[in-house]
């Protein structure tokens, strides 16, 4: 069966270098400047909001004694989840030898790192006294030393997110080294020194490549369990408590699949913008978009199944508090959030079963935006509706986010897009060295090599002499 080539337009090796380095070397376009200005403006709004709430205290949020976690933790879970697609694309798809990943893995990994940066802000500002954030680490202190509680999922989070961030960053940087060397060799002056410093003297030696490929496989194998472990640990923040709607064994897989779902939606959103703005239509092709859409249908269906399983478990448990929590989620005062979630996460991805929708990039873009919205609401529904109405009716409240909280959420998007735009401007968005290995010319020749025939030798072999030999063997 013949599939469409991964890279369109009959690109040669030198074209890949020129196409990917071109936008970096030509300098920012007007469109980039406008987008960057907008992102920085949002970021500044967030900085002001965070500065204000640190100065005044988290009483500026809409929290009360009943609802102690709301926007902040929703945003934290949302951003950590976004990151998962980058790791899945770069690690799991590498191990499964899915070659289509080469066009998107660099930016997906960048997205992971920036999303985890955004996520990290929220638990820290939630502490109220963020200057004491280092207390989460087990260091020899003057309070005993009193160690951190290793039995607490909140502490597991520190280690899970810390490891996730570090390994993702290392993996990303190792992947960048060959491409930084390419940029170094094309640049001059200060840029050459800067790219050269970060390229670490990479020369493309076969001995280095051999070790490099081994190291990348190992890092992928290490990052793969991280895809599963990080959001599982995040889910235990909820699942180990006794709040109805949180205390569920389904939470780890439910959170992991939701994370992959939301992350792929975000990757697709970014890629659809990038291919237009950066002129990467030949590299991020409809085939890549379709492959990602199929992942969205698959993970979206599992998310839908998880919602049904939650409802079934609540009914089957016979526990009145569990039953009430789910009725309240769907029909209580915050019921509209639940239906936004169902519409965006369960119904919308099912549209991608249709090839006509999968191949219409504008429709796919709208679908991915809706999924991003839906996944944010999913976390909001899980966290807030469970807390608003728990065991004691006398403690019930209604949570209302404040302007400061909205501004902080907007600011996290500002940070994300600022970092992403800086990445587009200064670093190669497409992993050149990897894309060069999947060009059609490379595939064709590879077959010859694996047959034990070297191309020139095969061409120069006397054909008439070979034919009788083949005949004699029969």
């Amino acid at each position: 069966m013949h599939e469409a080539p991964l890279i369109l337009g009959g690109k040669r090796v030198a074209d890949v270098t020129a196409d990917v380095c071109g936008p970096i070397e030509r300098g920012p376009t007007g469109r980039w400047r406008r987008a960057f200005a907008a992102a920085v403006a949002l970021l500044l709004l967030g900085v002001v909001a965070v500065g204000y709430q640190i100065a005044v205290g988290i009483g500026t949020w809409g929290l009360d004694r009943t609802v102690g976690w709301a926007f902040d933790i929703t945003n934290f879970v949302f951003w950590v989840g976004i990151g998962h697609a980058g790791t899945l694309i770069s690690a799991v798809l590498l191990l499964f030898r899915q070659k289509w990943r080469t066009s998107i893995n660099r930016s997906a990994e960048a997205m992971t790192i920036f999303a985890v940066c955004c996520a990290g802000i929220f638990p820290v500002i939630h502490m109220g006294r963020p200057w004491l954030a280092f207390w989460v680490f087990p260091y020899p202190n003057e309070r005993g030393p009193l160690w951190v509680n290793f039995r607490s999922p909140l502490l597991w989070d520190v280690f899970a997110i810390g490891t996730y961030f570090t390994i993702s960053l290392v993996f990303w940087y190792i992947g960048l080294i060959p491409d930084l060397a390419t940029l170094r060799d094309r640049a001059s002056g200060l840029k050459r020194r800067l790219y050269g410093w970060f390229a670490l003297g990479f020369s493309g030696s076969a001995r280095t490549w051999s070790r490099y490929e081994t190291a990348c496989t190992l890092l992928a194998a290490l990052a793969t369990p991280l895809v599963v472990s990080v959001h599982s640990v995040v889910s235990t923040d909820f699942a180990t408590s006794v709040i109805p709607g949180w205390h569920a064994t389904i939470f780890p897989p439910y959170f992991v699949i939701g994370a992959v779902f939301s992350g792929f939606a975000m990757v697709l959103t970014l890629m659809l913008i990038a291919r237009r703005v950066m002129r990467f239509e030949a590299y991020i092709t409809p085939r890549h978009v379709e492959a990602m859409c199929k992942v969205l249908v698959f993970t979206g269906s599992i998310v839908g199944l998880a919602y049904l399983t939650e409802l079934f478990t609540a009914w089957y448990s016979g526990n009145p508090y569990e039953r009430f929590t789910f009725l309240n989620r769907a029909f209580g005062p915050s019921g509209w959030c639940y239906w936004v979630m169902v519409a965006c996460n369960v119904i919308t991805p099912q549209l991608l079963w249709f090839r006509r929708i999968r191949t219409d990039l504008r429709l796919v873009f709208v679908v991915t935006l809706l999924i991003n919205v839906g996944m944010w609401f999913e976390r909001f529904v899980i966290i807030v509706t469970s807390l608003e109405r728990d065991f004691l009716t006398s403690a019930w409240t209604s949570y209302q986010p404040t302007l400061v909280e909205y501004a902080t959420l907007a600011g996290s998007f500002g940070l994300f897009f600022t970092l992403f735009l800086l990445f587009c401007r200064w670093l190669p968005m497409i992993a050149m060295a990897e894309v060069k290995t999947v060009l059609p010319s490379q595939d064709h020749g590879h077959e010859l090599v694996s047959d034990g025939l070297t191309a020139p030798a095969a061409a120069s072999a006397p054909l008439p002499a070979a034919l009788p030999l083949a005949g004699a063997g029969r």
Binding site: R151, T166, T182, D185, L200, F202, R207
Partner: protein
């Protein structure tokens, strides 16, 4: 004894692999090859030994795992045990997540560090590639001239036969890449 080094530059990865095989079959030692991307079959053509990084990865992971379990046990059961309703101090299942994360962290960091050190990839290091375009679209092969039976012109002819677009002798001092 200083050996003379010969450089052949190719425009195609398959030609490079073919040339590397031909050189090895004639007994011409290959010093190194420089390519813009990992080339399938080149390890084999150059008879490179597989990397030992997996051992480092395993050792790093084991060290992280043991250190994390030991520290959690010491902190929670030895140094400052806290009685929570008579629950065991050494509650090892609760220590699994942190131990797992530190295992992955140490394994990954050690692998990455040894990759860089072993390949001499250090900040400020200069590239030893004999031609800058190997980071773009050229494939370079550097071979040694070992004995009189294979003189320079025979090597040049062999490289040309496999499609080298450029051949020249290298000053041997520029070659600093380590042995496998």
């Amino acid at each position: 004894m200083s050996r003379r080094l010969h450089l052949g530059i190719f425009t195609d990865a398959h030609a490079l692999v073919a040339a590397a095989r031909a050189c090895r079959s004639r007994g011409i030692p290959i010093r190194d090859a420089y390519t813009p991307h990992p080339v399938h079959g080149l390890d084999e053509a150059m008879a490179l030994r597989p990397s030992r990084l997996p051992i480092a990865c395993f050792v790093g992971g084991l060290a992280g795992l043991v250190a994390a379990l030991a520290f959690q046990y010491w902190a929670s059961a030895q140094d400052w045990p806290i009685d929570v309703g008579g629950k065991p101090f050494h509650s090892w299942p609760a220590f699994v997540p942190v131990a797992f994360e530190l295992m992955v962290l140490c394994a990954g960091l050690l692998t990455a560090l040894l990759l860089l050190v072993r390949s001499r990839l250090l900040p400020g290091a200069a590239s030893v590639a004999p031609c800058e375009r190997v980071s773009d679209d050229r494939y370079a092969l550097v071979v040694e001239e070992r004995d009189a039976r294979l003189p320079a012109d025979a090597i040049a002819a062999l490289l040309a036969e496999h499609g080298a677009i450029e051949r020249r002798e290298l000053p041997s001092a520029t070659e600093t890449e380590d042995a496998p």
